[in-house]
């Protein structure tokens, strides 16, 4: 009887002391959960660009569908992206004024995983005038162009995140010709923000600032 009591005691103590991976993040604060990932095309000299074009709304990409949205938080993101780019010397222009850069703010709401499966909204292609008029569309789901990613990185979890991308409109599409890779706009900068609380109005300003803080190479010619 005594032995049984000791065994139960040992198991009890062990159970309370042993932690595990499943609750490794239980004490992670909302701010600490946020991850900022930036990537850019090293072959690109950002000082060649002076102007950028940014739609007034956010595209919500959800699996193979996308829609346009403009909540208060989304408006804040667009404003903050504009402010940061302006502070770096870029000038925002209308889409008809031959912008050098196309900036896309996308709220990805995917159920599957993997960045490589990310659909690129035809909304931006049309908006910047590279829509159906520029040539035949290649590839399913893309009006005229598919995005060209210089490099890939994938995280296997999480389905809701911010994606801020810049495409090179100044030099036009790459891979001209025919085939599945034809007429792609070169994505020269990409930022992903993942984690908890990233769609909250009070945190989006800090999120966008954090993205630009770790991308000092985004700088127009002075």
């Amino acid at each position: 009887m005594g032995a049984v009591a000791v065994w139960i005691g040992l198991v009890g103590v062990g159970g309370s002391l042993v932690s595990c991976r499943d609750n490794a993040l239980d004490d992670l604060s909302v701010d600490d959960s946020q991850v900022f990932i930036t990537n850019y095309d090293r072959s690109v000299n950002f000082s060649q660009y002076r102007t950028f074009s940014l739609p007034d709304s956010v595209v919500v990409a959800s699996n193979n569908q996308s829609r346009i949205s403009l909540t208060l938080a989304e408006r804040q993101v667009i404003n903050r992206v504009t402010e940061n780019l302006t502070a770096r010397g870029f000038q925002r222009v209308g889409k008809g004024q031959n912008p050098d850069l196309g900036v896309a703010v996308i709220r990805v709401n995917n159920r599957f995983t993997g960045v490589s499966a990310l659909p690129y909204s035809p909304f931006f292609m049309d908006w910047w005038g590279f829509g159906p008029g520029f040539g035949p569309g290649f590839g399913p789901g893309f009006g005229g162009f598919s995005p060209y990613y210089q490099s890939y990185y994938t995280f296997q979890v999480q389905e809701n995140y911010w994606l801020i991308e810049m495409v090179d409109l100044r030099n036009g599409p790459v891979n001209s010709g025919t085939g599945t890779n034809a007429n792609q706009l070169r994505v020269i900068f990409q930022a992903q923000v993942r984690g908890d609380g990233i769609f909250d109005e009070q945190s989006v300003n800090n999120i966008v600032n954090a993205v630009f803080n770790q991308a000092p190479y985004l700088q127009a010619a002075r």
């Binding site: 032995a3 000791v6 065994w7 040992l10 198991v11 103590v13 062990g14 002391l17 042993v18 932690s19 595990c20 991976r21 490794a24 993040l25 992670l28 600490d32 959960s33 946020q34 991850v35 900022f36 990932i37 930036t38 990537n39 850019y40 095309d41 090293r42 210089q150 490099s151 990185y153 995280f155 296997q156 979890v157 999480q158 993942r194 984690g195 908890d196 954090a210 770790q214 991308a215």
Partner: protein, 213 residues
């Protein structure tokens, strides 16, 4: 005078004929294969390249072991358990070529060994104090999960493992069933991923052990 001598003689004679099994028969522990179970709690000190990943003493480790005790002072057994270690790093920006990731990393490593053990004991199976040396070998399920914020970089697989150990079992009395087991075990798992090039740790554990037949 004669009356005094006779009772003494009788007493001596009776002594000679009393049946005393403790002397006549060896304990079953030393005659048959008997059983022993142990459960340990321990702390793990990281060694080698493990310190590149998590350089922190882990307080969350358990060992369970079943042994078949042979009268020839050796045992064969099966060992399993659970080893978990975790470390949270403050937010910093990690630079990979053109890619930068700002995150609070939570690094975790979970090890579940499944080993066969062979031990040699320096005292007999019924002894009150039983120091031993042990060699374990088998596999370990290693789960490497590095969280970037809430995103997980995960890799899990079975890898070969060896674990030499020294320790002692203290039963308090000869043939006692319940005892204390104290052990220092070096463990090497042939697991290579990211920062880890052969996982190594020193597991210092203590627990209860029970022997029976």
């Amino acid at each position: 005078m004669l009356l005094l001598v006779i009772p003494v003689t009788v007493t001596l004679a009776q002594d000679d004929y009393v049946n005393r099994p403790r002397i006549s028969f060896e304990t079953p522990f030393n005659r048959y294969v008997t059983f022993n179970m142990s459960a340990h709690y321990g702390v793990a000190v990281p060694m080698g390249t493990q310190t590149n990943y998590i350089n922190r003493v882990s307080p969350a480790n358990a060992v369970v072991q079943m042994e078949w005790m042979f009268p020839q002072r050796f045992s064969l057994g099966l060992l399993s358990g659970y080893q978990y270690t975790q470390e949270r790093l403050p937010r910093q920006v990690y630079q990979f070529d053109s890619e930068a990731i700002s995150a609070v990393q939570t690094r975790t490593l979970t090890i579940i060994p499944a080993m066969a053990t062979a031990a040699y004991y320096f005292t007999d199976n019924a002894a009150a104090f039983r120091p031993y040396v042990q060699l374990g070998g088998g596999v370990a399920r290693v789960n490497y999960t590095k969280f970037w914020g809430t995103l997980a970089d995960q890799e899990a697989r079975f890898s070969g493992a060896i674990a030499p150990a020294v320790g002692f079992k203290l039963f308090g009395r000869r043939e006692g069933g319940l005892g204390l087991d104290v052990r220092a075990q070096y463990q090497q798992i042939f697991y290579n991923y990211a920062e880890i090039n052969n996982n190594q740790n020193l597991l210092l554990s203590a627990g209860l052990t029970y022997r029976w037949y």
